[in-house]
Amino acid sequence: MQNTVLVVGGGPAGLSACAGVIGAGRNVVLVEKEDRLGGAPILSGYAKLVPSGEWAKDAIGRMVKHVEDSPAAKVYKSTRVVSLDGGPGNFTATLSNGEKVSAGSVVLTTGFTHFDSINKPEWGFGTFEDVMTTTQMEQMVASGKIACPSDGRVPERVCILLCVGSRDRQIGREWCSKICCTVSTNLAMEIKEISPQTDVFIYYMDIRTFGLYEDKFYWKSQEEFKTKFVKARIAEVTRAPDGKRLLVKGEDTLVKRPIVIPFDIVVHAIGMDPNLENTEIARVFGIGLEKHGFIDRAEHYTNTCGTTRRGIYVAGAALGPETIDDSISQGQAAASRAVADLYALVQKTA
């Protein structure tokens, strides 16, 4: 009888799913395509996490250590699943290194891909050195020094543009990426903390710091850190006549006037795309994708972690834009379903 759960993807959701399986006394095989565990927070070098304020490498590092230290976990890095045969209770996965893994159930925690800002060329990413993504700004914060990449000067003004790669029918992104508002308000505070002389502006259509993020991030960044919120969707970013600064052009919808405002750094609050490899993942695992390209759910209420194929579960940002905290919860939930399958199949055969 199968005693093993296969987890695909070693980010927060996957690590949490592994911990869930280990905690239930079963074995887990974790397959990660990159050469290290931790997923986006580690691979992209996030700074302090929302809402704990803990450094990503510490918080996620703990999760990684828990799984790597467990004798019940077998971890494959730089490895992919190339095919999956069998069915519930008796899957066999073939890995890219040629090994075969038998598992009673599968949890997909294949995550997302950061939106590539190059797809919105009018906002200057790839054209101007001082236009960067939230991920890059997180790395700058982690380095402890805020400076313009072009010439190293300390920025007088930084602006963060929200909804880059989200809520944009023009580029086929008809979803809200959910976390960028909170991440951006958090980032605004981190910038101000490191560089008090820098003023931070956030250009928004709506502010969606949902739940308890409202006062801890939105209000706090506005009230204590004096972040300025401007209601405008930016039309384009160009070079200022001085050859150094950037001009942010758009319409301030509250003043009902065009604006052309100079900034030193422009940050794109990039959204969460479906994993670039989702079509391949769907083919290998025989599962369906929903209309945006994320992994489809089986049924919302009784099998919320289920994919459209029995015995295969899914958690985290593979399902759609998700927070790290909720990805971790979903990882636990998916693990409990996956382990329940092992037990249910034992009972059936007994």
Binding site: R157, I207, W219, V230, L254, V255, V260, P262
Partner: protein
Amino acid sequence: MAIHEKSLIDPDRIMTHESLVVDGVDVSGHWNTMVAPRFLGDYDDDFNRIIRQYPGGENVHRCWQCGSCTNSCTMYAQNTDFNPRYWIYLTNLGLKSEILKDKDIIWTCVSCNKCTNICPKDVRPEGVMKALAHWLEDEGHTPKTRSSIFDEEFTGQVLDHGRIEDAHVLLNFLRKTQQSYFQDWLIETVKRLMRHLPVRMLIVLGWNFVFTPKTHSWGRTGDVLREYVREQKEAAHARMKEAAHV
């Protein structure tokens, strides 16, 4: 009008010159009309820091533009140009030139405080209106208000004499605000004083009016107070300047 399109443009953006030379070419006459661009070209980052230094303006940066203040506003019901929500936004971004367009109505806030009661972020919009009105007056964008003129007259007399002389306060206030001395209510008041006040009191009144005596042993008290007030004002101004450059 020679160029009819001018009517499509805000008057304050049309620039005409009696004579003008551009790149060595004399363009005096009809054809030197220029139109200032419509876009907003910069924010004044110091402005909201300055307004936050004024009593009442401390929380202006908290605003998230819900519009509850404008919705509840007594003055907005009278005049839809009176829009506290909008001015708070302009203050926070430092769009000073836009605020100056409304300088002549900001002071008309009646301090009913409905906005302050309804504000979900504790911005205290009524205080912001006061702060803006004071800033406009301090910067000379609006003339001194009558209440400021009255305060100055009153304080001046106290500092000079240790007391006020009612008739002097009144008459000087009327003079400085270009109002007639012959107010109906004032004439009536004087008539009744003459009719009903004991003669001895009238003599005292008249004596004080003419000789404006000082309070007993007032001495240099007024000078000391004046110096203290000046110092305090300077310190407040310095604080404001400093805050604006942090």
